[in-house]
Subunit: 354 residues, 2 copies
């Protein structure tokens, strides 16, 4: 890590990525290559203050000065069904969660389906039923949709892109840019379950596993947290790129140093074993039903206790804090007392995990 450089946003990062003439799988992995694609290709074209914030959703104002949170996610997970979920549940929860991460109550979703010719109707029906259930649990309505069909071999069963709109709760101001020294980092439960569950469903683990995806709508959890403290600074769900990438994004957006305690980060023993066998670090594995919260130290206990009373927050723990250090980076204090730098995921790790 001696070759660290500091990028324009002041973040510690590895040497520049190679130039690509073509899209490669790593551009979809949610790590540094994805960020570069967004920064170099999308942002310059679509430049506006809303996109520039780099949060999970865009924050806009309606004519009546009401703040709306708007987000979208394309879903291409393979296989379509995996232990604990499927592409439909993922498509609803992914967008519900992104909209919620700005402290908004998600209300409306849209769903765009790209179906491959030959897709079994009952497969589509199961996915739709699953979306219905997830939407009901989250309390959102799917108010618009579109369906396109492409020839055999031009998709992989089905892809679903959802978008969502929510109303930001009065008096809250949550953003990845709001982390401050003294903030405590709370994680809502174990990491790595989703990614490893999908790998298992692909038969890529090499052994039978009981690992279930954690895919879940987190909006009710967030409501409980904001009821406990309106002073929450950051909410973010560590999906593609995992906890490490998410915390690097927050560190970069806020210009702060985040220090984690390795021992405090909960990992399901089966996930841990799978990662060890495959040479993966759970910090980089995708989650679909977890969130990290950064909250001023004085409110941390009450937020944590509110989380523990909810279905998707019962495993919540404090895992670190924002230090007073001036370097923009994420550090991990290991069990043996050493400290290592936690970088953002670079390129590809697990393709088509969401």
């Amino acid at each position: 890590m001696s070759e660290e450089t500091v990028n324009m946003e002041g973040a510690v990062c590895a040497p520049p990525l190679p130039h690509h003439e073509q899209i490669v799988m790593g551009h979809g992995a949610g790590g540094r290559m994805s960020h570069q694609l967004i920064r170099k290709t999308f942002l310059p074209a679509f430049q506006n203050p809303v996109l520039q914030t780099g949060d999970d959703a865009g924050l806009v104002e309606s004519a009546l000065r009401q703040k709306l949170s708007i987000s979208t996610d394309a879903h291409v997970v393979s296989p379509l069904f995996f232990p604990g979920g499927d592409i439909g549940k993922l498509a609803v929860c992914g967008t519900v969660n992104d909209v919620s991460m700005l402290g908004a109550k998600p209300l409306y979703l849209t769903a765009g389906f790209i179906l491959e010719e030959g897709l079994q109707m009952d497969v589509l029906q199961r996915v739709i039923d699953s979306m219905k259930q997830a939407a009901q649990e989250a309390g959102v309505q799917i108010v618009a949709g579109d369906t396109k069909v492409v020839q055999r071999g031009k998709a992989d069963g089905m892809y679903i892109t959802t978008a969502g709109v929510g109303i930001v709760r009065e008096g809250v101001n949550v953003s990845g840019a709001n982390a401050r020294p003294g903030d405590v980092v709370i994680l809502s439960g174990t990491i790595g379950d989703h990614g490893i569950a999908v790998l298992g469903a692909r038969g890529e683990l090499g052994f039978q596993s009981n690992i279930q995806s954690d895919v879940a709508p987190l909006n009710h959890l967030i409501e409980a947290m904001l009821d406990a403290s309106p002073n929450i600074h950051v909410l973010r769900d560590p999906t593609r790129g995992g906890l490490a990438t998410t915390l690097n994004e927050i560190s970069s957006q806020s210009g702060v140093e985040i220090v984690l305690n390795e021992e405090a980060i909960p990992v399901n023993p089966e996930v841990s074993a799978a990662c060890e066998m495959l040479g993966f670090d759970p910090l980089y594995i995708a989650n679909e039903g977890k969130l990290v919260c950064l909250v001023p130290g004085e409110d941390a206990e009450k937020v944590l206790s509110a989380m523990k009373k909810t279905r998707y927050g019962e495993g919540a723990v404090m895992i670190g804090e924002v230090s007073t250090g001036t370097k923009v980076r994420v550090l991990l204090r290991t069990a043996i007392g050493s400290t290592r730098l936690v970088d953002m995921l670079a390129g590809e790790m697990l393709p088509r995990i969401c």
Copy 2:
């Protein structure tokens, strides 16, 4: 047409479609098969009053009783570039137009990209630049995005799903369900240009053509129309399935008979010639920059004259009216004085046209 039956919504329609165990291309064509898929598979699951209206966008209320128009469109056009446009322009205009068709001012878009591994970066860049231009012309901001990459052979270059949010103009009430006897049907210009332009780009015409797609953002046109008359009953863009399918949808939603004058419907001579050679009816060919408007007879002249002053409405003409007939159907008075029934597009016609 002696086997006509009346469906649950009271619409005249052909005999029931065959049952399908698998998705076939016709499910994506925007005609009767698409409608059946939506009615049998999507609507029962996502049932809510907003979806049920069957309009191009969902109409919802924010907490402050402000009406929002929300819509989404998945874009899978092949090839990615065609005379007059590309998938990026299409993705922006398609959603801008759908949001606008409820009498709303579109403000915010989201864009979800599914990229195929190996896509050339400069192709992506050209598409993005085109989206930027289209968004600027429409005056909308792209406030959220997502990018996924799938392996070679799991997509076809790129797919783009956009969603949009707009604010419904005070005092207007536009819906496919609002057509009433005495309404005049106004069409904003020639039909069939987009579909034939895409066919030409695929080399499927068998001859060189100069036909350009009409893809365009229609929101400013609609503003001018609503300035001229807030009493407009219906606005709809005849995309997949063409003018015939769109008018059948309106007839069905409103429970009215629509009578068209064949001679009044403008068709570019080149489009007309191509259709004749290929055995297509321009009434069923997709448009991406045209709209139909149904407005009470007394306001028709002023709406038409306002349209003619705009860039995308200069070719506007009155093409028919809502009759006092009690049958729910669309009729065409031909040049030779006969009358024929115009049905909805049944299955597939031109795949991947948008």
